[in-house]
């Protein structure tokens, strides 16, 4: 009896047990990474190029403002206390390895590196473009990759960088600082050689206007190499790089390559632009910058007297940033003004003091403060060169590295605003790297 009923039960169930096959899934919300790694079309390669250029802007503000805070160029007055606490070493605080000021720039730099690596892998697995065109894509990619890695190295200092990151499962080791500089310069040199005979079938934004052919892009590549060599204090190489760049001692100092911004969907606003008079989200000029300024220096128009000079966290400043006029103003990646300063720095360090002085005077006269009148010694000219760099490149992410390579990133050279504050010289490797 029981058996019969179990059979009828099963028979009944069979009615409902139809074949419910669930289909293979695909992502309805975006293209898959695998779709571009093999047989990428030219359109896909171009999308990657644009993605690389656009992605460079992410995390850039952190690189500039975190290093600028440590170098006592500026204060970040916003809602995050770690900008006025950790970065200035308030009390016993140290730089943290799991906090946005390092993880933000680090992650975003390496995200661009990843995009470049995807582009490189896609190029190896497609026939949709010619070999010369592939060389063009590769040279572009590797130049940007080197530029991104150089910014990571700036922040991490002697911690070095991880160079080989193409396989997420098997990341290469962190190299020493010296080896990291070697690697970045090699990458730039390699890309530069590849540019001869290469073609650029892709479009770069207006920010690369004048630098968007293999020949002119090479000048940008050399300019970045000159900056990296300078950071490495390899001044002979810096000089040869800068000479091969778009350095123009007689030309427009503002000539150069930029990040551009826009209000279009997916685009970004200039993250370093701060509204005039805005209080809770402001970059405030460190008082020492104002105190040390030369009267009449035209570069002082980068600073604007604040409407409300209220402070935060025991810090005060009467001036705020006026570097950018609007939220869509471009940010320079590198411009002739810096190249002239690199030219001066290299020459001074190589003992060509007069050539160095000549270059510094170009900067001084452009700022309307007349020729240099101090002693023409290497030491004095280094002081002068650093002073000019301070005002020419204020708020653009240079000061911390400038002071560091001359041993001045410490309390002997920088003011301590609050008792117990510290001057840090580099950022820790992010915790997630697991080293």
């Amino acid at each position: 009896m029981k058996k019969y009923n179990i059979l009828s039960l099963l028979g009944l169930l069979a009615l409902f047990v139809f074949s419910c096959e669930i289909e293979e899934q695909f992502d309805p919300n975006g293209p898959s990474i695998n779709s571009v790694l093999t047989n990428a079309s030219k359109a896909e390669l171009d999308l990657l190029v644009t993605g690389i250029e656009a992605g460079m802007r992410n995390g850039m503000a952190g690189y500039v403002t975190a290093s600028g805070t440590i170098a006592r160029e500026l204060y970040i007055f916003d809602a995050d206390p770690r900008n006025t606490e950790d970065l200035l070493g308030k009390g016993d605080l140290q730089l943290d390895n799991n906090t946005f000021y390092i993880t933000g720039p680090f992650n975003s730099r390496y995200q661009v590196v990843k995009n470049v690596n995807i582009l490189l892998e896609a190029l190896d697995n497609t026939d949709s473009v010619s070999e010369a065109e592939k060389q063009g894509y590769r040279a572009f990619g590797n130049t940007i990759k080197a530029y991104m890695l150089s910014q990571v190295l700036d922040m991490l200092g002697t911690n070095g960088i991880r160079l080989d990151v193409s396989d997420p499962e098997n990341l290469g080791p962190f190299l020493s600082q010296d080896a990291s500089y070697d690697a970045i310069l090699d990458l730039l040199d390699g890309a530069n050689s590849a540019l001869s005979g290469a073609e650029f079938p892709f479009f770069l934004s207006e920010g690369f206007r004048g630098f968007n052919t293999p020949q002119t892009f090479s000048q940008f590549n050399r300019a970045i190499a000159a900056r990296v060599a300078t950071h490495a204090a390899r001044y002979d190489r810096a000089l040869s790089y800068v000479n091969a760049s778009f350095l123009n001692l007689d030309g427009d100092l503002s000539e150069g390559v930029e990040h551009i911004f826009g209000t279009v969907a997916g685009d970004l606003l200039n993250p370093l632009y701060k509204q005039e008079g805005q209080s809770g989200d402001q970059l405030v000029v460190h008082p020492r910058i104002i105190a040390n300024a030369t009267p009449g220096d035209e570069r002082l128009d980068k600073f604007r007297l604040r409407v409300q000079d209220t402070g935060q966290d025991g810090l005060n400043g009467a001036y705020e940033t006026a570097l950018y006029a609007t939220a869509t103003s471009p940010i320079d990646i590198i411009r002739n003004e810096e190249l002239v300063l690199i030219y001066a720095e290299a020459n001074i360090n190589l003992g060509n003091l007069e050539e160095g002085e000549r270059a510094l005077n170009i900067i001084r006269n452009a700022a309307d403060i007349g020729d240099y009148s101090g002693p023409v010694t290497q030491e004095a000219l280094i002081d002068e060169m650093l002073y000019q760099r301070c005002y020419s490149l204020w708020g653009e992410g240079h000061r911390m590295w400038d002071l560091r390579r001359y041993g001045r990133l410490n309390a002997n050279f920088l003011p301590i605003d609050r008792a117990g504050d510290d001057v840090f010289t580099q950022f820790p490797i992010p915790l997630s790297e697991g080293v």
Binding site: L13, C20, Q25, G51, D78, N107, G262, A265, S279, T310
Partner: protein
Amino acid sequence: MHSLPRRLFGSLIFAIALPCLLHAQYSVSGTVKDTDGEPLIGVSVLVVGTTTGTVTDFDGNFTVNVPDDRNALRLSYTGFVPQTVEVSRGMAPVDITLDEDVANLEQVVVTGLASTIKRSNLANAVSVVSGEELTGVTSQQTVDGALYGKLTGVNIVQTSGAPGGGYAVRLRGVSSLSGNNQPLFIVDGVYISNVELPSGSRNASGANSASEESASNRIADLNPDDIESIEVLKGASAAAIYGTRANAGVVIITTKKGVAGETKVSFNQDLGFNTIIKKVGRRTFTADQVEQEFGGTTPDQIAAGKAARAAFEAAQARGEIFDYEDIIYGEKGFISDSRLRVSGGSDRTNFFVSGSYRDEDGIIKGTGYERFTARLNLTHQINDRLKIQSNTNFVRSSASRSFSGNENEGGLSYGYTLAFTRDYVNLFPDEDGNYPDNPNFSGNPLQTRDQTRNEEDINRVLQGINVNYRLLQQDNQTLNLVLNGGLDFILSKTFVYVPENFQSQRGRQNGFLAEGKNDLFNYNYSAIAVHDYYTDSGINFTTQAGITYINQSADQLLTQSTQLIPLQTNLGQGAAQEIDQTLLNVEEFGYVVQEEVNLYDRVILTGGLRFDKSSLNGDPNKFFTFPRASVAVNLNEFDFWNTSGPIDQFKLRAAYGVTGNSASFGRLFTSLTNNNIGGRGGFTVDGQQGNSTLEPETSSEMEFGTDLGLFDNKVSLTATYYIRDVKDLLYDRSLPTSSGFSNEIRNDLDLRNRGFEFQLGLNPVREDNFYYRTTLNFWFNRSEITRLGVPDGSEGEDIPSFVPPGVAFGLGLGTFYINEGSPITGLWENVDGVPTQTGDTEPDFQFGWNNNFTLFQNLDINFLFHWREGSELLNLTRLLTNLGNTTPREYDDLTGFIEDGSYFRLREAGINYRIPLNSDVIRGLKVGISGRNIFTITDYSSYDPETSVKGGSGLSTNIEVAPFPSSRQFYLHLGFDF
């Protein structure tokens, strides 16, 4: 007067008894009454050893035909202890008195997808909260919020105190890291959505993620007053039959049904108000303190100090020292909740109709919540074999939640703006209505309050259909086919507006407008066959088998417009538009089999298997198996038991079960996202590495317990110990970000939760004029990460300890940290550069104490205390007020931001008086007053220790950043029964 229904009842009895007429049988009649002598209507009368039976009529009378070979009737009725009565041929009508079931032993609890078991035979500690317990004391805003303190093994945090809710319910500890830590909610067979629908306000406020937008979770849409009972299957051993949806437990909600008989109409009106649960206070200043604390030693700082002093003194002279906390959070928000219920039915058709309207203002001007619900529950017996039931619920709700929680430079979240706003600065608008800039932050909170909008509107339909077809009915067996279908359709609109002249907007977005349209459609069905079989000796076998299917889809469209034309709130009236679309589609299919054996109510054995496949798994057509097994032994039912002793019930039980949870949608894929520069689009990796081979995480639970009833069940005691092993936990691990990805999803983490739950029910006095019942709930949970990567000492890839992405704000301030051998709920921070556990969000224990008094039959006094001991919080609100120098001076000596969040709270209290009436029109009239969160004793320095800034998912609890403060509520109740 009752003749027609009686005749109908008679024919029903006839219909039920019809199959038995063929056998030799005799007739027994009788009357069933309660201890007060009132007749009981609808008592089920069953001939023991058969499926034959009847129900009592309006006068408590019954007549039933008994086969010759049977000699006992079993009478059972909800809320009463069942009784077995010996009968014999030719006996006189029997008078039977049923005793009230004070220990709830006869309560029926769902154990399979289509079967129930009475509580005394249950092998799990399933908590049941009745509608009366849920809403009887005070007026409830949302169902989930109403549960806390009323059952064991649960931890509830409030993700937002804004009207309209925002709760996260966690049962027996953390069961998942990848998102779904919230139990599955099933309402009358409909798998309902409990999503938080983001509004895009993060794009104006700068919050880090959608989870920081403090949206309501959509359980808020249910009208608590519609609920008949809530069953909470807390762990895998009870919930295994729900398979891959049940890892975080299952909450089964049953709504009220009509009962045959006279039509009942009741109308309830609550009037009340919201007020802030606690004001943290503001820092007080003298002129000297202003100069000192806002000044310093350098020339700039000295000048700033002097300027601040001058401003302070000038404001003081004008009498303009404001208390902005009071100005923003000090509103008394009016609450009105009206509910109408009509129910009744005939012998074939029962109905329940309800409508409710709740209108609630928050403690911040302009915030509020409105909810309109309508429900029709209809049951119709087509014939004696076929019953159909339909439950339809329509909800329309809207909430204005303004801005709270974490943000970055948006100047919108009140907690942030207040932290930086100085009380001597006048932020009120001038006579032309222009709001001054806040000199110390990027937004003026008064302008946020008066001119911004953050709203959500919901239209929702829940529909459940249940068909029960009796395929076979014989003397000793029945076969039922239970078909169940449900759909949940949500059409939601979100709206965020920040005007172009708002401080943080000027020069950047120049006004922000976002409108979201979310279209969510979920449906599920199941077909289960249930076979009941009684052996001649009275052993009962219940066999069930069937299929289940779930389909979820969502289309979430968010359009935002910036660079707005002044004063325009139309998406087209802006210079820059952006559209985001998120699509989702999930399908799941499963088979279920379960066998239950009941040996004379002495030993109850259950075994079951569920096989599930899901499109969320790497292989969508691979079945995963989820077994269960349990045994309950009622020692008091055995012959050797001395029934005259003090112990009325003594049950030992053990249960084992496995549940699963698939990864959330999209995690199988590594996708590229788009960006843009100069008007040209590009691809970029988005930081998240998918995994196309994911399998569900599983939770296997072993539960042991005992249930005791003593002294006529005046004392009842339930104790349960569980060990719950979550295996192959799906988790996001922070990758070395040099890989270009910030996180990947992995499957190699094991977690153990162990806990103890204890419930003591006392009903010492049951006099007419003094009735007292109290329930004490005590529970705790402990977790430990037992495996990360490979087990210690074995070969393979071991995973270093890591900070899970997106749960907090880094080790610099304090965060959760995944470390083998440590609890998963620990709060860690860098101490001298070494990650160190400095707190634990898991309470040491929790304790709920519920008291019900009835005095002179008509006066009900109820109160519920809740004590949570030893649960630490990360209070980052104080980090902000420290920075803005607005922390009250009494907290100056607090160091660090991890604080003890222990509290003792009078969660609910109410006094109700049922006015005795002798009226033909009004049958009942009730008046009462009540309150919720009436007082709290805690050392916690901020608003409320039940808080979470990261919404309801994942690990997120006990992280406080500028929350919408919780509120206290007080009510006046009026109730009419017609």
